[in-house]
Symmetry: C2
Subunit: 137 residues, 2 copies
């Protein structure tokens, strides 16, 4: 049976990665795992290690994607939670059989070359939940 | 030096714990760690295990606390992220010296008899961050 293994990351949409790092890295003392431009997602990201999970700082580089609209509405803030799943295809099948509303029924390419699906907030206590394939799949 | 150890939990404010469990426990398959009434916090809570972290479902039982106002504005959703800290007093001192805006400068009683302080969202990418004392302190 497909299992959720852990929180992969909590994604925070920000307008300025360097300003956000002043809190998450410099004040809290979290270690920056990596930072990169993701032109295919129209974004710049930075990941900070948090035990077995991470905080993702996500800055949209265009003004017409979902994160940019979130930023326009909220300034910044928690955007989604990503949960690592050992068998993504089995989990998709299971959630569909439970009547859970998925945003994408086919998995999409996500960070680090892995696949993901998103659960619609209407099925998840108004939380945007990313189900993120475990490494090595 | 005080260190952040892990994500303790991500708190989701909901209007109906049983309805929320239909997704988090029954559809996703997360294990319910415990559920209880917290009359001193005017709330009912349920925690679900997520690797080394947890999801907290938090239902306010009054209509005039912070969570109830959040619920009135947002229906439900991610409310805060709690990070486990090994030395809470040292972390408070460090954040104050870094000019981080804390909501409470003295720690307050939190879940499981531990102490916590909250970082104001204005200092943390608009995220409400709880710094939660590690077990055994």
């Amino acid at each position: 049976m497909s299992m959720i293994k852990k929180i992969s990351h909590v994604a925070v949409v920000v307008s300025d990665i360097d300003a956000a790092l002043e809190f998450w890295r410099d004040a809290l003392g979290l270690k920056l795992s990596y930072a990169e431009d993701l032109p295919e997602q129209d974004a710049e990201v930075a990941f900070l290690q948090l035990g077995d999970s991470e905080i993702e700082l996500f800055r949209p580089t265009v003004d017409d994607n979902g994160a940019a609209r979130f930023l326009a509405e909220n300034k910044s803030g928690m955007h989604h939670i990503a949960l690592e799943v050992d068998d993504l295809d089995a989990m998709i099948e299971r959630l569909q059989s439970e009547g859970v509303h998925l945003i994408n029924h086919e998995s999409v390419a996500a960070a680090r070359g892995r696949r993901a699906v998103f659960v619609h907030p209407s099925s998840a206590s108004s939380v945007l939940v990313e189900l993120y394939e475990a490494a090595g799949k």
